[in-house]
Subunit: 120 residues, 2 copies
DNA sequence: TATACTAGTATACAATAGTATAGTAGTTAC
DNA sequence: GTAACTACTATACTATTGTATACTAGTATA
């Protein structure tokens, strides 16, 4: 399995490849990361807005996942000096580009579903 | 966040989208699925070959993951009537196409790493 | 008879991921 | 003064995921 990255053939087992895939996996794995990213695609959101948007998430998980996403430079956190304090979360440019990965997943997923349906 | 699939704009929250992404996530999530798929990219492999190929995997996990991949139509299992019995595993066409998703992940991962490096 | 090969399975445990429920601190409206 | 808003945190638990170690069954070789 080979892949073209910046005009260079890269072997699936090359160190860079593995690290890059792992990084992408980190960002989208887990139960709540995609719902959070999905919700932030429509623009900035406050903590409580995300909590209301994402059905059944607990504040503990929301807080934990937002911290991880911030650490990984996917989400930017901004504190506003209002009363009460409001905190806004938004996707970084890198966070927005995850869309390309999701697109590839949707494309594969739909094709795969069709293949499986025809087989059965 | 919108995406183009077969000339139709599909909303990120549409049922089909969510199911398709979840399906793709199922196939690549977990500690051992990518190493297994990676190893099978080079062609058919027997159980013991995979076990030797994939450093530190236990037969329990290899067996479990192969079963899941087979259930999801990513891997095909063929039993050969030799002595001792040999079993071959190979990627289905759908399994091979997961490469497109991995490519998108590599591309994003490499770009993201560069952005993060420049920032720090 | 003992060892090694095939492809796994069984049991018990450890580690990680996620849930449920309640509480914090500071300010504002009733 | 009490309730409600903000953005969380703390504690204790359950569930899922992965590990470690040993074992099975059938055949072939030394």
């Amino acid at each position: 399995m080979e892949t073209l990255v910046e005009n260079q053939k890269v072997h699936i087992c090359s160190g860079e490849f593995v690290i890059a895939v792992r990084e992408a996996m980190n960002v989208i794995s887990g139960k709540w990361k995609l719902p959070i990213i999905g919700s932030l695609c429509y623009g900035k959101k406050r903590f409580k807005e995300l909590e209301r948007d994402i059905s059944k998430i607990t504040p503990r998980m929301l807080s934990k996942e937002l911290k991880e996403l911030e650490l990984n430079s996917i989400v930017k956190r901004t504190v506003h000096d209002t009363t009460p304090v409001t905190v806004e979360y938004e996707l970084t440019p890198s966070g927005k580009k995850i869309k390309n990965v999701l697109d590839a997943m949707v494309k594969w997923g739909l094709e795969h579903r069709e293949v499986v349906m025809v087989e059965e």
